[in-house]
């Protein structure tokens, strides 16, 4: 039983480790995708700022010898091209984010599996300790009663705490109901 539980913990830990490494790789891909979107976003912002600057300067009467029209056309063309790249990169980023989310959920599920396997193993071992304590407590109570009788005491010389007595009573009732 113990070996089975240990194997379950080992297997759950291996599954968790694999899911974590997968999620880490996905996080690297997502980070690169985020950076590549930001890169294009910044270029688009810079073009937009330049366009707004030219428009504002022209409103103030600065015509730059008629060079603005050509530059504004260039900016519009570049912005259009960059917008296409931006959309492509956003699609890649969205796919990477979705993959990262899926793998993160797998990590959470694997964490729960490991926790569950550990708890089951703990229950197996705690039952061994409880059974040992049960036998020792019973033997001690029997011995106390016998010794108390020998010294002429008619009253119990040791009592379990109310908490223990209540808990044992409740467990006993549950056991009988099964």
């Amino acid at each position: 039983m113990r070996l089975t539980m240990t194997n379950q913990i080992t297997n759950a830990a291996a599954a968790l480790a694999e899911s974590k490494v997968n999620a880490e790789s996905a996080a690297v891909v997502l980070k690169a995708a985020n950076e590549s979107v930001t890169e294009v976003r910044e270029k688009l912002d810079a073009l937009e700022n330049e366009r707004a600057g030219i428009v504002a300067a022209r409103k103030d009467g600065d015509k730059r010898d008629g060079a603005d029209g050509a530059r504004l056309a260039e900016i519009a063309a570049d912005s259009e091209g960059l917008s296409e790249i931006f959309q492509e990169r956003q699609a890649v980023q969205s796919a990477a984010a979705s993959e990262f989310g899926r793998l993160s959920q797998a990590v959470t599920a694997a964490e729960a599996m490991l926790s569950n396997a550990s708890d089951h193993a703990l229950i197996v071992d705690l039952k061994v300790i409880a059974t040992e304590l049960d036998a020792k407590l019973l033997a001690t109570v029997v011995e106390i009663t016998a010794v108390a009788k020998r010294v002429g005491s008619s009253r119990a010389v040791w009592l379990p705490s109310s908490l223990l007595a209540n808990r044992l009573r409740s467990l006993d009732m549950e056991g009988q109901a099964r």
Binding site: L16, V21, L133
Partner: protein, 109 residues
């Protein structure tokens, strides 16, 4: 993909394109009845470049796979040890310790 892998892929793609073009030239030379040995040597060299690029890529992939496997093994070992450690700590706390009794005191005296 690392920069090294990107460079290797570019090297392979370039060699494959050059190979395609060299094969076209080889056909022209063969039809014209000229000397094909130089172009054949060029094609052999391009093949070798593609093969060496692919071999390097395979080596990198194998090394990455080894790294990944050892990282998983290390992490799995650590997480299993953590879980077992927590179980043992709980059991140590609850396992009956030897009680300090009157007899022990008398024995010490």
């Amino acid at each position: 993909m690392s920069q090294r892998q990107e460079k290797l892929r570019l090297k392979i793609r370039t060699a494959e394109k050059e190979n395609e073009s060299a094969r076209g030239r080889l056909r022209d030379v063969l039809i014209a009845g000229g000397n094909s040995s130089v172009i054949r040597a060029e094609i052999d060299d391009l093949h070798r470049r593609v093969e060496s690029g692919n071999a390097e890529l395979a080596e990198i992939a194998a090394a990455e796979s080894d790294d990944r496997a050892s990282r998983i093994a290390e992490l799995a070992k650590s997480r299993a040890a953590d879980s077992v450690g927590r179980i043992e700590a709980t059991l140590d706390r609850l396992r009956p310790a030897k009680s300090e009794t009157f007899i022990d005191e008398a024995h010490h005296d």
